[in-house]
Every structure is written in C-alpha cells, then in structure tokens.
Amino acid sequence: MNAVAPITKSVSTNPLKTSAPLGAALAWLGVDGAVPLFHGSQGCTAFALVLLVRHFKEMIPLQTTAMNEVSTIVGGADHVEEALLNLKKRMNPRFIGICSTALTETRGEDFVGDLRLIRARREAELEGTEVAFASTPDFSGAMEEGWAKAVAATIEALVPAGQSGTVKGQVNVLAGLHLSPADAEALRDMIESFGLKPIILPDLSCALDGAVADEWRATARGGVTVEEIAAMGRSKATLVIGEHMRAPGQTLEQRTGVPSLWFDHLTGIEACDRLCVELAHLGHCSVPPRLRRERARLVDVMLDGHFFFAGRKMAVAAEPDLLLATTRLMNDLGAEISAAITTTPGSKALTQVPAREVLVGDLGDLEARAKGADLIATHSHGRQAAERLHVPHLRIGFPIFDRLGAAYRRSALYDGSRQAIFEIANLFQAAHREVTPDSLNPFLLRQKEMRA
C-alpha cells in the first residue's frame, strides 16, 4: 500500500493527462461501423483527431456538433440533431457514440432527455443507426474514465436486460484501455485456444491495426459488431480487464446476470497464470501445450532479463491501470519504482502500485522526480524530459507519435510480457556507456552526488 498524493499547484506543466472525450472516442472506434461524435466546439474534435492520427497513423472517423458562442448560450440540442442527421446522410453509420465535452457540460444540458426527444422525432430518418451517449467533461477524470464511460454507455444502449439462455462457450471481455490492439488480438487467440468464443468490447484488434483494405469506408471498421454486443447477455462469464472497467463490468453484470471475473491487468506471469486457470475452468479443458510453452519462455526471459532490471530506478508516469501493470512488471524483475505519477486520483489500482507514493501530477513532476532515475516510462511527450535527463525513454500509453507501431506494441499475456521485458532491457543496452576513469573515480562521484 502506498499514499496517493493529490495536486497542490495551480499550473500544470507538460500535461500527462489526456482528457476523457478522447478515451471515449477511442473506445467507440472499436465498434464496427461506428462514428464517435464530440458534442463541443470544432476545435475539441480537431485536436483529438490529430492526436489519434499521430498515434495510430490511421484515418480516424471523428465528428463534431460544431458548437459556437450562440449555440452554447441557447443550448446545443439543435446541433446534436443536425449532426446526427448529417452523419446518417453522409456516412450511414451503424452506431454513433456521442460524448459531451467541457464546453457543453459547463453550460449544462439535459443531454439524455434531448437525445430521447430527437430519436423519437427522427425515428424514421435514424432507422438502422444505434446511438449511445456518454457524459465525458474534459475537466473530470482522464482517458481511462472516458473509455470506461463509453463502454458503459454502449452496454446500456445495446445490451437488453435479462436475456435468458447461454450460448455455449461464449465469454465476454471488457477490454481496458491498457490493452493495445495487438494485445486484444492475442487475447482473442488465447481464449479461442480454450475452445471458447470471445466477444470483446471494445475491440480495437482489427479496427486500428491498419490493415490495407481494398475499398473505402468512412466509418470505423473491424471492431465488435452491434449484434455481438447485443448478445453479450447470453455469455457464460465476463472477463473484466482493468480497475477502470469495474463500473462498466458492474453495469453489464447487473443488466444480464452474467458473472464477472475481475483482472487489474494481464501483464506479468501471475496475471497470465490466473487467466489460464480461469479459461481452463470456463472451457472445461486443460491449458493448451502452446500456452504452457509460452509460460516456460516467459520464465526464461525473466531469467535473462532480470540482470537489466535489478536495482535500477524507474520513473513511470501513466494512467492508473497502465501504471500498475508497468510498475508491477518492472518490480517483478527487481527494479525500484523511484517515481510514480498518474493522471487522476481515486482508482483502487493506485494503492497496488509498488512505489512509496503515487503522485497525481504531470510530466513536469515526472522530470523533477526522475533525477537520478535510470529510465523514464511515459508517453511520447516525455521525450523532452528524457533528453534533458539523459536517460532512456520507454514509450507507454497514449500518445506515442514518435515511434512506429503503437498499435502493435505488446505488454499483456505471456508473450506480450516477454516483449515488454525485451524492450526495457534493450533500451538499457542501447544506452550503455563505456566506463572511463572519471566515471568510476569515487571522489568525482561524491562531488556529483553533492551537486545533485
């Protein structure tokens, strides 16, 4: 257990946080045929869009209700209605996920009531398009919250309450933001190897993997379908991955009675072991040989890799669940977490982080606390700090815009954990400097310590 320290200053220097609407939009990109819609000024959407494009190097369908000064004062219901009709006409999406922004939440509107009226009035025009609404003001929570709220809103909109009958072997997965698209895909394969059929919500695995198709489509493609989501009430169990997915997990469980299995993350040997056991129970089968082999490989990589972790100081800044997954893995191999910074207080995951204290702060705090650290781990904006501190920079989370392959990064399951260990160990090896007489001179070292 550690202490979570709140913010005490007025200025945020080099933000760590990405705000909630972007998280919500990203979740909805994992629904096939979806278009996320920001209810706010067009700049909110433009900034989020650019950031998503920089991270995924993909086209991102994201639209705006284009609020202006006047519509903000008189209320934005007309803009929501117009946006829905325009989207329907232009793109004919299967699903539209609306998220509010700081602007419209500050003004305060009865979004849910307005939306109900609009949908009743425009029933014929909107036929064939499902709509969900998530309240995601930028001033509250961060990306994980936005993601989770979108998932909860989707469940409420699409999963009928009290379905009866279980589809044999069907399991739900509520995937957290800390699973990359490639992690989600590996998880699907793993579940299938136990003879089970997963429905993953949201499913970015084939949505933001960038596969070059032969036809144009304006909406999100490749994610979980609206029909699959509607069938979630008939699953045998739900794997809920991430503390931030607890609320949507509870929503789904209450609605459908499908029992939940809770996981903080799927990184590191213990989490994967537990997942294997649960899946073996659900599939009434033994753990497949391939996975047993993957486990043995991970053990080997932990043995090879621990030399690079032992005693090293890591400064990590990330959203709560990602922070927990990353620091746990580092700590498992003997590293010390010298600084742990996160975006928002309140998550139970934070109390599990193996650090003396978790600070709710920004990259300015990371930089200040990372003095003397051997590595910093955070998103791409940490690059300035890494340069100034002359330490290797492990890129985790969102956004990662200065390295290719963000969608394919792995950190979950046996093989993903293995890759994460390789990456960190290799960063240290690449940053290795030859010793010099000065670098080992005890008196010079003492002087240096004094100055620091």
């Binding site: 972007l22 000024s41 950031l51 705006t64 000064e69 989207l87 602007l103």
Partner: protein, 495 residues
Amino acid sequence: MSGFSTKVQEVFNEPACDKNLKKSDKERKKGCSKPLIPGAAAGGCAFDGAKIVLQPIVDAAHLIHGPLACEGNSWDNRHAASSGPLLYRTSFTTDMSELDIVMGNGEKKLWKAIHEVVATHRPPAVFVYSTCVTSLIGDDIEAVCKHATEKLGTPIVPVNAPGFAGSKNLGNKLAGETLYDHVIGTMEPEISTPTDINILGEYNLAGEFWQVKPLFDKLGVRVHCCITGDARYVEVASAHRSKVNMMVCSAALINLARKMEERWGIPYFEGSFYGVSDTSDALRNIAGLLVRQGAPHDLIARTERLIAEEEARVWRRLEPYRERLKGKRVLLYTGGVKSWSVVSALMEVGIEIVDTSLRKTTPEDKARIKELLGDDPHVLENMAPRDMYAFLKEGKADIMLSGGRTQFIALKARTPWLDINQERHDPFAGYDGMVELVKKLDATINNPVWAKVRIPAPWDEAGAPSARDFTIDPTHVARFRKAFAEREAQDFEEC
C-alpha cells in the same frame, strides 16, 4: 465580452482585405467565417489559430487557461524551430477541474498559475490564452493579466481567442490584434538600421526560415524578427522600428500588417519563399521597398546579382530531376498560400498538376492559380474523402501532396504522398528548399515500394492459391538453378 465582440467585428471588417471590401455592409457584419455544419465540420478553432501564431515566440511562456483538452491534446505538436530558448515547448495550463469551475475559482487559479510560471521560469513575458469554458464562465483574463503585469513586473499578455469564437483563421487574426494591442511598440530596439525588416506569418516550421535568412545576411538586410518564427519577445515588442514588413502566410496577419503601416508607416507586401521565382520576387520586393524607405540604392543591383547567381545554381541542381519527374501528375490538396506557391514551384520542373484545391484561399490566391494553370486542370473547391480515394485508386495521379489529415487516404489507395503542410518535418523554403522538395518528390514517386505494395496477393478471396497471378522472382529462379547445377551427384543419393 462586449469588448471582445467589437474586436471580432473589427477583424471581420478588415479594410485591407479585398474579399471583405466587395461585400455589402450587411454581409460584412455577418463576418467572414462560414457557418460550421454539425456532423460535417473539420478543422481547428480560434484558439488553435491564435496559438499557431504566437507560440513560436520561443523565450515566452504560453499558459492556457482552460480544462485539459485544449492544451493537453495539442501541445508540442508543431515543428516551429528555435535557435536558442526552448521554453515555448514547455506546456503550461491551468487544467481547470470541475471544482474550479463550479466554485468560480478560475481567475484566482489563473493568477496563481501565472505567479508560479514567472517564479519558476522567469520568462520575458507570459501569453495567457482564454478557452471556451473559461470564457463561458466569464473569467476576465484581461483584468487578471493587467493585475499580474503590475504585480510581477513581467508583461503578461492576454490572448482572447476562445475556440467557439470561430475558425483557425479568425484565431490567427485575433493573435495579430493581441500583438498590436499589447506587444509591438512597447519596447525600443537596441539597434536599428535602414535595412531592418520583419517577416509576418513566418513561423520557422521545420527551421525553414534558416534556409532563407542567409540570403538576407548576404545582402546586408537585417531581419529584425519573424512574427513569430524563432522570435524573442523583445524582438517582437520592438518590431515597430523596422522599415519593411513582408507578409508570407496569405492574409492570416493582414490586419497586423495594415495597422503597422498606419501607425508606424511600415509598408508591407505579400510574398512567399516557396519556389524559385517566388523567392526571387520576394528578395526584389524587399530591396525595392527598402530603397524607397531610405536604404542605399545599390541594394537593388546587389539583389539582382544574388538572384542571378542563385537562380543559375538552383536550375543547375534541378536539371537531373527534370527527366525523372517530367509529366508526373500531382494531386495538390492544401489550402491558402501553399496552393499557388507550390504550384509555381512544381511547374518549374515540368510536373503536371491534375487537380488542386481552393480551400481557404483568398481571391488573389485563386487568381494566381488560374494564371498559372489556365482553365485546363480541375480546380476543386473541396473533395470528399471517398472521391479522393477513388481518384487515387484509379491511378489518376502519380502522387498527392497534402497535409496529414488526408495522408492516409493516399496511402490506403497505395499512392505516393508527400507532406507539404505545416506539420511536416522537412524544410522546403528558398532556393535550396526547392531542390530539397524536388529531391523528396523524386524519392517518393520513384520509390520501388509502390510496385511492391500493389502486387496482388497470390490467392483468391477464399485463400486458394492462384498460380496464374503468381510472379516468381526471376533472380530467385536463376539462383536456384545455379545452386542446383553446382551440386554433386552424391547430394542426390538420398532422394
């Protein structure tokens, strides 16, 4: 807010803007930004536009007063290069929380934030940006900035351009107003020469201005500052003593150029550093205006000599590419100034423009494009992504030049693409920049990767291998045969 509305009206009423002059009084009052259509809008907001203009002042602190998204999703995302201070790349925001908003703590938090920034970083100035939310809850950033300036003895400059006020372009202009109202003319330059100039709307993206500045150095023309690329606060504050203003980003800062002419008698002209003839014209114009303003008369002859030398050199260097690029068809999809300046640059090496867009262009831009291209190619107002994809997929262009927003349409259509917008990393300005652009164009169009990615998969939709379409690498066959022929008979014993 009423002061702000007046300001927006004033910007819309720009007398130096030709487009504006043609309107009736009633039309003019409506402003120049087109109403945005919900569900079909794209592009940045006024806050975005204001930050684009001001943030390249590299030694100032830029503090965004609002909830996180405005700054959190947009910081450090442009490549305006600095030759020294890096404070402009540090992001400062008040990160307004729900509690701050509900309790009306905005102004207090802003004052504390300014205080923290000044105490920690000692910047020569702090630019404070309002956003939709802080503007909606009525935070008076001008009053806070005034108070802070007095208390802290550091210029704290209010930038009143909340996102919902309008488009990026409006934000550009409001930033120009900010500089005029609060910054330019507040300090005197340490040195002032008869050949001092300012470049308005040059942000030194990708360090581009450093491709051009040595040309001025060679002529003895002193670039006092760019407004605002790689600028220091004092340079901008003392920019009113320069003799000539050059405006490079179309009409983005026309209001500032016009007001600087009215108040300090600085003549301005619009020009560009993209392309050979545009660069030469710019140098010529500056020399001419400077001489008119009292610079030594020989500047004109020296400028002509430099132009002749540089042009001869650039054509020599472009010659090898002419053959490789002749007749290549370009789809140019970009807005504003980039359209005509890039068009002229590309046509200089024999490239064919099959389509170009006129988004965000002024009537002058349009006239120039017409003049350059005639009526032959299609000039588009706008192109839907689906149509653009189809256009490229059908092979109607050999390359698309555009910005990041449309990048993936080209790439998914397996078509070469080159970034010519402001987010790009490669500098393309001046004579040498033109060579760089052409080099890059050649390397992109003639990259063997395009042939490879267009090879169809050697199987059908069901995955059944189709020998018919399968092309075998001939070198592989040759190598295999050679290896086979060299084998000894005994190698086959076990077969």
